[in-house]
């Protein structure tokens, strides 16, 4: 351990929900997208699931909202070191979409992609079992464009770059294929509890 002379740091927070190396951002919700925020109206939004599935399908805004509602209440963690506690997103569980398209048994991974072209890769097992959502609302209000509105992927148990903003689709593959940040040196999975920030962590 290399102690920094004279550094004490902020008061210690013994929050069991805070992963290693993270701090509580409080009321802040920093925006870190690398591209221009798109001008995307709900009427122009679509979401497609295809690749290794029985029945590829595209949902529009109304069709996606006809699926059963599901909310996430909990914490989110950004690789840049902030975490945010007790947030609430409203949307639809990704399981509801996958149930309709029926993934092949050969499907092991997925690439999520945005209407901007942003991509991120995930093991399929991180998207199933009630751990991933398509989110339309934040704290009961429509999700703001800079936070991915009208709809973003939400995978809160991984670092937040996996929760692709302006989600356009998910393609199921039989192999892992690095997405945008993953090609730029970031970790393939991004589990905050194991501090999987960068490739090699």
């Amino acid at each position: 351990m290399n102690v920094t002379r004279g550094f004490t740091g902020r008061p210690r927070v013994h929050h069991p929900g805070l992963p290693p190396g993270q701090y509580d951002a409080g009321d802040d919700w920093p925006v870190l997208s690398a591209e221009v925020t798109p001008d995307l109206a709900p009427a122009d939004w679509t979401f497609r699931v295809d690749g290794l599935v029985e029945r590829p399908l595209t949902w529009d805004w109304d069709e996606a909202h006809a699926l059963p509602e599901s909310a996430y209440e909990g914490d989110i963690h950004c690789v840049t070191s902030w975490s945010k506690f007790g947030v609430r997103f409203g949307g639809v569980s990704l399981d509801a979409f996958l149930h309709v398209v029926r993934p092949h048994v050969s499907a092991t991974h997925a690439v999520a992609y945005s209407h901007t072209g942003y991509t991120t890769n995930l093991p399929l097992s991180d998207l199933t079992g009630g751990r991933a959502w398509i989110a339309f609302e934040y704290e009961g209000k429509p999700l703001a464009p800079e936070h991915g509105g009208p709809a973003r992927l939400l995978v809160p148990h991984l670092y937040f770059w996996k929760s692709a903003k302006w989600i356009a689709g998910i393609r199921l593959l039989d192999h892992d294929e690095p997405g945008f940040w993953e090609q730029n040196g970031y970790h393939a999975r991004g589990n905050p509890w194991e501090e999987q920030r960068y490739s090699g962590d």
Partner: protein, 251 residues
Amino acid sequence: MTETFTPLTRFDVPGRIAVSNRAAAAWQTATLTEVRRETPYASTFRFAVPGWAGHLPGQHLMLRLTAEDGYVAQRHYSIASAPDDAGHIELTLDHVEGGEVSGWFHTVARPGDEVEVRGPLSGFFAWTGDRPALLIGAGSGVVPLMSMVRHHRARGLDVPLRLLVSARGPQELIYAREYGAETTPVFTRSAPEGVPVGRMAAAHVAPLLSEQPPGGWEAYVCGSNAFAEHASRLLVAAGQPVERIRIERFG
């Protein structure tokens, strides 16, 4: 059945720079050698990092401080210095109110102190000097852009480069003494006599896009989220293709 995935995209900026996973994974000791005040709120911290693998203008690093009880605080910071400064890197940090890391730098740190860094990280915002660059920054958002300006100068590059930098006033303009003909400062609260005061506007951006170099500009925007949203909209409105705008937001 194996397929590769290629998204249909407007934002197809590829990861242009291969990042060394080994360099990014290892923490190295950085020894503070010099502190230079830039503005009442920002100072430049120069470090000796003997094992530094080098970086490209626009890249950042992760820095960590460790308290006696093992508590660690780590932050991403853009690198201000040009790549050619062998074994040395410079960071320019705002004194953030209540900031545990920037607070330590501005009130405790002195030459000889050791911190730890890993990097360089992320090739997305990097500029290799190969294409015309239009740089737009505000406040300490000018830091990674200054690395590009310094690189351009140090190498004597011919490729066009322009910098629009927004600051509240002349006192708050970081690197004020270093700018040359490539730079246009924009002052939002107070300005020297004869210089208009106001937010960055279409009138600043449009002329640069109406006189584009062959092949057009690569645009790099850095600042707060509010500034980045504003500046990127100005660029799009002036005709800059969305897929050729890279944005780095504070956070």
